[in-house]
Symmetry: C2
Subunit: 357 residues, 2 copies
Amino acid sequence: MRVYNFSAGPSTLPLNVLEQARDEFLDFAGTGMSVTEISHRDKAFAAVVAEAESLVRELLKVPDDYAVLFVQGGASTQFAAIPLNMMHNKKADYIVTGNFAKKAWQEGKIYGEAVKIGDSSDKTYTYIPDVDTLPYSDDADYVHITSNNTIFGTRYVKFPKCKAPLVADMSSEIFSREVNVADFGVIYAGAQKNLAPAGVTIVIAKRSLIQDPLPICPTMLKWKIQDENGSLYNTPPCFSIYMADLVLRDLKAKGGVKAMNETDEYKAGLLYDFIDNSKLFKNNVVKEFRSIMNVPFVTPSAELDAKFIAEAKSAGLVSLKGHRLVGGMRASIYNAMPVEGVKALIEFMKKFELENK
Amino acid sequence: MRVYNFSAGPSTLPLNVLEQARDEFLDFAGTGMSVTEISHRDKAFAAVVAEAESLVRELLKVPDDYAVLFVQGGASTQFAAIPLNMMHNKKADYIVTGNFAKKAWQEGKIYGEAVKIGDSSDKTYTYIPDVDTLPYSDDADYVHITSNNTIFGTRYVKFPKCKAPLVADMSSEIFSREVNVADFGVIYAGAQKNLAPAGVTIVIAKRSLIQDPLPICPTMLKWKIQDENGSLYNTPPCFSIYMADLVLRDLKAKGGVKAMNETDEYKAGLLYDFIDNSKLFKNNVVKEFRSIMNVPFVTPSAELDAKFIAEAKSAGLVSLKGHRLVGGMRASIYNAMPVEGVKALIEFMKKFELENK
């Protein structure tokens, strides 16, 4: 029986996409080979990479002077790639709004002066600092943000307006909200939340900003090299790109990012409304900054949290355990989580609350 | 109809493994989720990583003081990771026996003095230099080799005996021959040839050599960090690791590396024997150094080569085009290429020779 999988990543994928991948797993595009076996230089596979790039451009309305890259190593590798491609003045601003934002900042410090200009750790990362009043550096190479904080369940409502190019880790919310790409220097995202199986990372970068990587930058982390080679400088993570392409096709068929955002807002609204009216469950995030992708919540006790997680699992609602940094529960309700899954979770929470008054 | 796929990588995988992956694609280990969706922290998936590591250790007889890592970015990323983890004296020796060996050497030069102590480009990389007479540096941090040269179809018959740790790129031959891991400081291999779909790279490294990465090393490229986190420092390329695990299980069931080597030697022997007795086809590699994985060959003319490649494709023998650096044809006959595939290729070559005298 298929469960509802609330994992923060890797995470649930559209069932119709999984079925298509299964059905053609031994014979991709009539080639007589699995997509896991075909040469990345084969025309049939090159078409997949080209289509995936084209769909990213179309669905996010990416301007023509931006590169769209498929690379490896996850957002964590990009934490180094960002300074290695961009830190020419050896100075960058970081807004630290969670665990991954902090990791990005710490990695930045390896390569230059990484200035923490904002920090919401004083309230366990339950809010986003006011981006209009932060002390942006005059000579920063870029300003780094994490637009949605997977572990703490927050998101930026508006983005910094700063002189330096804005670099945003959108791993856990890309394709769930419309953004104006031209407002950013770089957007990057690990695919394993809203796009594809783990193994591929998208980088969308303004080409004028990526022409001069630092000399110590590993060749594979040079965005310019990846751009010049159409993400095929070496063997790419073919299967993950193929799956990303199927998910992007599916997203387009479902109406694109705007339509998906409406569904995502609706799903999150159902869950937050229930939690806010519950006497047992609580979400601690400042309402304005609540993520529509990751919804952390708690009961009054760790024992009851554990009981909830175990009983939910038995009911086919899995991976609801919160991150070890915050405890409690977390429901990740990405694009591929059906409305029915959120409703099933709410019904289960209702029942649990009645049984545990 | 399933073709015989002679691609140099990504490349053919065992049919029984592909069938298993397809059959359980929507429900991995009874979890009600696809293996592409499950959290990498889930016990069911952690068991996959643990089993894959354990099988690598068992099948290659890896000593206990070596780390076995699953990382991302392909061998090309390791070209940087090697100096970034090991180049403390800022000096290393490189033996350049082909295109990837050259790329590894060039990447080494970013981080220190990368000394080219051997080079077989004088004869289009058709041989391996005599490893007993090379001018090894006294103060090198390591000696780097490419044990099998995918494009040129050569392999080391014996390995350098040098003071510095030996670092070997075994991407295109790992698991096809028995090696004494203790003779190496580091063995690494992109998986997309003999092990799994593209997206995962194996690193086998003596732990005493990887304790002190250079300060500029990106965290994700620090082997020590990957080792301390059991290859789960960040989200790994889960599907490729899962497939590697299935292939390793299959390799064990088929008798392990020794048995596989016998089959591989047999397959290569059939093909080289035919070529050596042919009046039309020719392999230019010095016999002693011929690869048993990658077999390049040519006819007397580029036109006939093109005709051969096209007609072979129509006959279900695909991806036989040689690399653009050498032209002609190349048959990659990795572990997963059945004996029947090699026999079918030879039969086709016989027929083509008769028709094109």
